[in-house]
Structures are given as C-alpha cells and as structure tokens.
Subunit: 327 residues, 4 copies
C-alpha cells in the first residue's frame, strides 16, 4: 500500500483527488493538508468533508508520493521539500509546465520560484510521456485546456497530416469549476448561470503551454466559460495537407490510441460533456467541414484535465497499474 499526501486539499482538484484515491486499492492518502502556510486546521463543514491538517512539510517524509493542488507560485517550495524527502511529486499547478524560465516570468508575471527544477520536470501528458513519467521525480501535470487540445492534435502533427503554414485553432469551452473554489465576480451564480462568454482572447496562459508542447507558434486558442460545473469541450479547426482527408485523420487518431484505456476515438457521432464527466477519459471525433477538418474533444476538467491525470501519472511513477483508481 503506497502512502501519498494531498497538499491543497480544500480546492476542487484536491477534493476530486481524495475521491479518486478513496477507490484505489493500493494507495492511501495518509496526509491531507492545506497549502496555505500558517492556516489553522478547519473542522469539516459537512460530515463528508475531509479533515484538512495544517501545512507540515516534515510529515511528507513518510509518503511515497505527493500531489500539489496549490495555486501557481506556491507549489515550487513544497515540491523542493518533498523531493528532498525522496517523494515522487505530481504538481497540478502551472509552476513546472513551461520549460523556459523567461517565458514563465512573462506569462505568470513573476520570476520562476525554482528554476533549478525546470529541466528535470516532465510534462505529464501520460499517453505521450509514459516512459519519461516512469523515470521522473517531478511531474508537471498538464493544464486542463492543453490536455483537451494536445491529445487530438499531437498525433496529427507527428504524422505530418497538417498544413505547416495554417493556424491550429482551438475554440475551447470549460465548466466553471476551472475557475476554482474562491468566490469572485467571474464565478458568482448570477454571472455564470444562463450566461456564456469568451475570455482571455489571444492572451490566455494556456496558449504558450500548448505552443510549447505542440512545437509550433501557430496556435490560436480561445477559452470560454460554460454554465456547467464540470467538463471541457474543444472544437479544433485544422487545415490538412493537400490530399489528407478527415477519414485519414480519424484513422491516424484511432490507431494511435487503439490501446490507450482512457482515449476514445469515435467512429461516428460526436462527444458531449456528459460522456466524460467523472471519468478520466478523453473522447474525440473527426469530420470534414468545408475546406477544413474539425476535431471535437471532450474531457472532465477535474479528472483527465487535473486530478485523474495526476493519479494516472503517480500510478506510473510508483509502478502501480496505470488505470488503478480510475476505472
């Protein structure tokens, strides 16, 4: 039985992770902490709430693995301590996703808090980094939007199916849990319910992350806020190379993911949020639309887009079956 810590357990991703781990047969969350230094332990509001202890880095010693469900900027110091204790670390924040220290500073508005770890961190899009994940000490768990975009786009890029001069356009829509648990204007019920909007047009922090992993600057990414709690659906507009059909692109994806337990490529129909909610799945479908090819992908932002993929990575790092706790 592996012992893990969940640091930052009061937010949505921390809570989701605890639910997933509770169904895991060979992993136990022995340490459940807040990430805020100096915060008092809070009594659970409801009987089903977890008891969250104060932050205590020493207690990580006893853990095989540590999950960091903290805001960006706060994860680095805890990651360093955990690595020194010999723990495997999966960081769900953005701290280690961008490999370029300067780009991080530009995008996140502050110098990187632990640049010495940047080269070591592995970007944990599990299906595309399994071998590196298995050997890693520190995983940068991918952003929710990038996961929904990279899973369908990477195989098409790697197989040279896309026009290298055309933009790759990802029109992405996310449920409100992506904006976190802290109350604010953006997440006020009156501003989400019966509403819908685009935000961060041309400037969202996940665009550089997608560009880095896709290896191209031609990414156009627009996030939107849905009046749902869970789920991301990305509608991706691609220009195929001359002679490449939508069917060929579907076949490419189908082959690439045929043996992946968490990726489904539809032979017909289109994925919806409800197909993937509460699952660690990414579903995708491909079709022609005028001169372009449209790919629609769907994930649960809290599972495959965060806590589920984090657990998938930790399973791989600790030598456990990759799907354990996730089926």
């Amino acid at each position: 039985m592996k012992k893990v810590a969940v640091v930052g357990a009061s937010g949505y991703t921390g809570r989701e992770l605890l639910t997933l781990i509770s169904r895991h047969r060979s992993m136990q969350a022995t340490e459940v902490m807040t990430a805020r230094p100096g915060a008092q332990p809070e009594p659970p509001q409801f009987p089903t709430d977890p008891v969250i202890a104060p932050l205590d880095l020493d207690r990580l010693k006893s853990c095989d693995g540590v999950f960091l469900c903290t805001p960006h900027g706060a994860a680095s110091a805890i990651a360093k301590a955990a690595l020194q204790h010999g723990c495997k670390v999966v960081d769900l924040s953005a701290d280690f996703r961008l490999r370029d220290e300067k780009l991080y500073a530009e995008v996140y508005g502050a110098p990187h808090p632990a640049p010495e770890l940047l080269q070591e961190a592995v970007y944990g899009l599990t299906e595309h980094a399994r071998a590196a994940v298995a050997k890693a000490r520190l995983i940068a768990n991918p952003g929710c939007y990038p996961t929904s975009v990279l899973l369908p786009v990477l195989p098409l890029l790697q197989n040279g199916m896309l026009d290298p001069n055309a933009p790759i356009i990802a029109d992405s829509k996310s449920g409100a849990s992506g904006a976190g648990k802290n109350p604010g204007e953006r997440t006020h019920f009156g501003n989400v319910h019966e509403n819908f909007c685009a935000y961060g047009v041309g400037v969202h922090r996940h665009a550089p992350e997608i560009r880095q992993e896709a290896g191209t600057q031609r990414i156009v990414f627009t996030p939107h806020l849905l009046p749902t709690f869970r789920g991301i659906l990305s509608t991706i507009y691609l220009t195929p190379k001359p002679g490449v059909t939508a069917d060929a692109m579907r076949s490419c994806l189908h082959e690439r993911y045929a043996h992946e337990p968490f990726v489904k490529v539809y032979a017909q129909g289109w994925p919806e949020l409800k197909c993937v909610q509460h699952l660690n799945h990414c579903h995708m479908a491909v079709g022609a639309s005028g001169p372009l090819v449209v790919v629609v992908s769907a994930i649960d932002n809290l599972v495959k887009g965060a806590s589920g993929q984090a657990l998938q990575n930790m399973n791989v790092m600790l030598g456990l079956p990759e799907t354990e706790g996730l089926q």
Copy 2:
C-alpha cells in the same frame, strides 16, 4: 394603430413576439392563431398564456401585417394567402431564406412549396437591407445563427479586409430555446443541463444560408448546444489581408454601425450572453489572436435572432419607427 396577426403563436418565437408587440404603441396583435390546420383552440394553461385561435386564413384580411412563426415548409401556403389579402408578411421560418430552389430542395429535403415567391422575398437582415425591406411584401427573416455571423462579417467582406482565400470560421453556441418547444431527446433536461455538445458539424442548414448572404463558399460553421435557455454567442476566426490589423477591423465595424440603434461594437471587453438577453441587440468585439483576428458576437436568439428582428422588419415595412416596441 396597425393590426397584425401572429400565426404559430404557441412556440417560443410566437410567444416572444406577442410579448414584444404588447409593448408596442402603434401595433396590436388582433389575430393570434396556431399554424396547425385543424387544431382545436387550446385553453391557456396559465393565466398569462395567450389564447390561441384555430388557423383561419380569412381572418388575415383585416390585418396590415402577418408574422409566420411556423415550422419550415408550413409557412409558404399561409404566406401566399396573406399576400393575396394584401398583408405585409414576415416569415420567421426558413421557407424563403435560400433564393435557389434547388439548394432549398437539397438542404431541406423536399421541393420548395412556393418557388414563385422566392425571387420576391427579401432577406431581412435589417441593417443591411433596410431599403429593400421598406418596399417588400414578403420578408425572409434571417436564421438566428446567420444573424450572429453576418452582422460582424459582412462589413469586413464589403470593405475587402479579409484574405479571400482563407476560410471564415464561425464557432457558434446557442441556448436550448433554439431547438424549439417540442419535447425530444435533444431538449430533455437530463441531456442539456450540465452538458454541452457540437452538432450538425459540417452539415447544418444555416451554413448554406450564411454562404449565400456572405457571397462566399469559404464558410466553416459549427453550432453547439448550450445549457442556457436564451442567447447565441459566435466566436469567429478571420484571416485579415496582409497589413490589416484587428484595430482596423474594429474601426470598420464601429463606423459601419455607429448609427445603428441595435448594434454595439465594443471598444474594450467582450460581449456575454447576459448583455443581450431580452434585447434586440447584436454586440460584438474584435481582437488579435496569433495570426488571426477573432470577433465575438452575441445576440438573443429569440429576439434579434428571431422575433425582435421580425418586428424590426415589420416596423420598416409598415412605415413605423424602426425601434418601436424594441427598446
């Protein structure tokens, strides 16, 4: 005081039209009918429901104008009768939107029921057809999605700001009222609430309508179903001609619509559904995103996307102030 008939008053657009007309100072809905031949009058379920009479074409004689809120295919016969009675007709269905009889047959799967009226019908995107609307006997009221796409795109096309070889991509999201009042799988609460999906990818009937009015086949259009009741938000990806900036495109739209009461071009920020719900407005904003320019437009699908624009057109046809009942 002008007298009008609303035929097909039990659906969402008919109901919305009655609400708008009730606030109109010089128009009265003197005839409120079902569009289903042979249907019995139904007693209102609630005290605020309208009383809906059976279909009776003779009673249209006394009306200055007739609104057709019927399913496509059913409007043509009623339009013919109303025109013979000398009424002005605004058809909210799709019957007269496509000018090409063959294209209609292909898209709607049946021969056109009144091809002799096709050339006469005016496509009533009011801001772009005001003079023709004023002289028309028969208006094809634009589809909800096309309204949200054409209002921002037409001025940019007309001013030659777009790369003529690049696709115009409209990623559109609509509230569930667009799917109508009849219960079905698609509109079951359990399939809409906390869900989101794309549909009609590459094959939706509004794509040919947009192509016709934009005068180009390069339209890529993807509709999506939002878990809201009202509203359409379209995110439109455009490739500018070399040298044309997002600022220039914003200025173009701003100038074009500076004197239009129902179109707002944002100097900053982005429109949301809640900005336009219950209003006859189209709001739009423009920004750069990588190599492309993104335009976001928002309308209320039941108002500017249907009943509001229909009333706007009828006002113009009957010589009333265009904004009456709509402010």
Copy 3:
C-alpha cells in the same frame, strides 16, 4: 413627467427598477446613484449598463420620488434627507419594515438608525395598503418572502377561515438573486448550481416581518435557496377552521383579488416560477391535502418581491396609474 432617483442602482433591485422605469410613460429616472458614500462613479462595464453617479443627496431636491435600493441600515439617512427635500420615498431595504424599534434591534443586531420615522412609514403591500400608501411620504417596501406569504394568507386570516391555534407554515424557495450581487460562498456557482438547501431555519429575519403583518406569532417559516436566478415559490400549509373547505378558501381569495391586476387565483392547476418571472404578479392556487389546505404562491422576487412592487407603490404615491410601467 415625474422625476425619480434610484439610489443604490448597481445591485439587482436597482438594475431591475431602471428597466421597469424605462418602460414607464410618465416617469423618468433622472438621478441614478450609488448608495456607498464616497464611491467613485464607475464606467459601465457593458454598453447596456447604466452610468451610476456618486451619492449626492442635494441632487434629490429635483426629484418627485426616491427609490432606496440599499442594504439595510444604509437607507435611513438617505430617506431622511430625501423627505426633507419633499420627495416621496420608497425604501426597498428592511429599515422601516418592523414598526417595533426593539424588535428591529434584536433582529438586525443594531439600534434603529432613524426611530423617529418608524411610526410614519407605511408597510407597502399595495393590495392591502392602497389608501395608506396614497397618503404616505415613506413606504417600507415589503420583503420578498413576506410578499409571497402575506398575499395568500391575509384574506384567509381576515375572513376567519383558519384555526386560530394551528401554526401557519410557509416553506419558501427563492432564486439566488435574493442573495444579492456581491460574491460570496453562498452565491458561488459551485455552491448553487445542481444544489438546493434550507437556511435560516427558525431564525430568518423575514419571520418577524410576516408575524407583524399577519398579526400572529404562529408563523413557521423556512427559506430555501433554489438554483435559479429569479423567483420565489411558497408552499403554505394551513389548518382550516372546522367546516371550512379548500374550495371555500379558494373562493375567498378569488373574490378578494378579483379586481386586482397583479394577483391571479387559479381555478385549476398550480403556479410555477416561469408563470411570474419578469412580471409584477403574484399567482396562487389552493388545494386540500389530507387534513390541511395547501396554498402555493409564486412571485418574481425582483419584481413583485422588490422593484415592481416599489414602482407600484410610487405610482400610487405620485397619483399615477398604478399599473403604469408594470404591464
């Protein structure tokens, strides 16, 4: 044309009032102010937002009437100034609803800020206070929950139809707009959407208000938070006097409200929130259930439960048609 001020225009009730007044033919909102002393004017976020000026009591001089859409405690000082300027005042806050200064202090946790006005203020449940409203300088606009409970219960009490020893139980459910526009735990999307709860059980501030107006301490009141934006539905459990039937109670209400434009007593069926949203109506229905009689009432909390009733009262105070701007 009457001139009115809306003080506290940035909240939900202030905004709703501006919408209603914009449709009024003989009233104009000439002053639109924040209620926060010292607050800077905020540029509107969206083109359809009102421009809100800083608080300036002197400018109230030019107004015939003043609406106070402020938090409780803040209204009293502004009311005093407005009255000194000779304005008619409708206060939508709780400041003048409880006539007993001591009860106010107990319920609201602070001494009353203007006890000298308490006896003068008229509790403006218009249908039950029309004559007094017409002569009043200062109206305490009723709470949203009390409006939904008192309209059905008062006639039954006044006609002696209820067992004087049995409790009157109001199980009330309100949309989230009742909790106001400020972000907080209670109104975070993740805590309202797909959720439902009771709150303030046995201790809500509207219970003493209902007790005062109903003239009995036998009120049991439980508010609940619905995952909707608008609307209150109250399910009221009543014990009839021996021999009094549900039919008799329905007849009593039907007669009492036969000539009231804003109250509908159903002959059959039951009201729903959607029957009254955006309307200044109270709908109610009556039926037997075992040994008790159940009354269900529905209002829009922002209209008949707040701004609509406020405008109805102001119309009466200023000698305008009572229904103007409200139909």
Copy 4:
C-alpha cells in the same frame, strides 16, 4: 463472485446501478437487458454506454440476483420468472410497495399484476428492515421520496415523540432525474431550467406509501420539481408531544443511527443536496421553528433513493458486506 442481472438498464436507475456494480468487488452484472418485450438490442450511442441485450427471462437462470429497473406494472411478470429460477429479486418499481391489493389498484389505476406475491415482498428500507431483507426472496425497493421522509420520521414515531393528533408534513423537492429518461413536457429543458413547481399536491402516489410505512394517515406530502438532475431534499414539519424538544428529537435520531454507515445526523448545520450527491447517504438535521420542530433530510434520489439502496438490499440478501460497492 455473485452474478446479477439488471433488467431495464437503459433508464437512469439502471444506468446508475451498473456504475455502482462496476465498483463492487464481489458482484458482476452478467446480464444487462432492456425490460421492453420484443425490443431490439440497441448499439450504444457513446463508447461508455452499456450494451443492452433484449429481454430474455431464461438467461436469468444463471444469476444469483436480479434488479428490476422497470416501470411499475412491468416488473411483476419478470419478478415471478426470476423467483422461479431461484434468483433473489430487488424490484425498484412500485409494484410491491403497497401491501394492500385494493389500495394498489386505486393508486396505480389497474389491478395488481401479481397479488400472490404481495404478502411475501419485504419493503426494503434497509436500516429498518435488515433482518427481514436478509431472509427475503423479493424486495420492494422504497420510493425515493418515502426514503427521504421515513428515515427521519420512523424513529421519532417509534419513540413516541410526536403529537399523535398533529399532521406530519413533508415538503419534498426532487431533481428532474426522478421524472425519468423519456422526453415529455414536464422534463423539457425549457420547463425545468430556471423554473420550480409543486405537483401532485394532495394526490401523489408516494403519500399512501409513506402512510403505510409510518402507520398513520396523518401524512401531508407535497412533491416539487427542482432544476437539478440529482437529489431530494425534504423539509419536514413535526409537532412534538408536550415536553419534547428539538434537541431530544435530534438525540433520538443520533442514537438510532449512530452505527449506520449511510445515515448522518448533523450536530450542527443543515444538509444540502451536494452533501449526498453520488452517495448512498441520507443526511438529516433537526431544529426548532416556532411551535414546531423542523427536520431537513437529503438523499441522492438515484442512489439511496433507488439504485444504491437496491444494491444495499441485494448485498444483505446475498450475504455480502452491506456497504460493498457503496463507499
């Protein structure tokens, strides 16, 4: 490993049951069938949908247990066949809940389809029928509303804490999944979203069921439809015997359920739907409100109100740990 059949697997309760069983370590759903005689097998719409075989009673032979997730009226014939094959049967429909054949005919509008089984069937409110469930061949799984009412009320009745002449009033609110998967007016998105209503006032079929199990006719029960998918919250108004306090009633419930894994009695605070969604829990809290005592209870209608309790019962019948698959 026990083998079970799920008959009627395409509805919400059938689907929920399959999810729960998939997490069970010693139970497998070896037969997954539709309940409609003659229905063809439908290919799954989405990759995560179950494959549903046609109804084939012979295949039940190989099963230890059979779950009937069918409409009322349809379960009886299948139950008879399954019992003849020696299976343990949990019927989630209403067929065996009312023990009185005449009452069934009156309430459900048709003669009972298998009256010979009525006396044998055990009403499976597990916490109150564990011993009988363990010995039963046929379980009538309780209705969702009755579960939410009986769990808090039964111990108070059994301990004589309630005034025997006062009504027991249950004001219950349910998510729309309670109305099932078939599209209709009641469950159309436009009629549920941003709406709320009471229905079946004084005449709902669950009232006789509550009366039977509570052993009193003094039940007043009003169901309401929430704009949520999952969950029931019941607000219950009770008249204590003289001298009995809310604290005493809370203690009574606390003691009664201290060792029950699925029932939580709150020492403070009030349960919300989100506390119990996706869980087989019933949460409850008790407080004074004027002369009455209010109990609020919450369950997930699809879990403790249907499939979860069904699995709990099947576990008991098959000698498995009662909580298996449910934690």
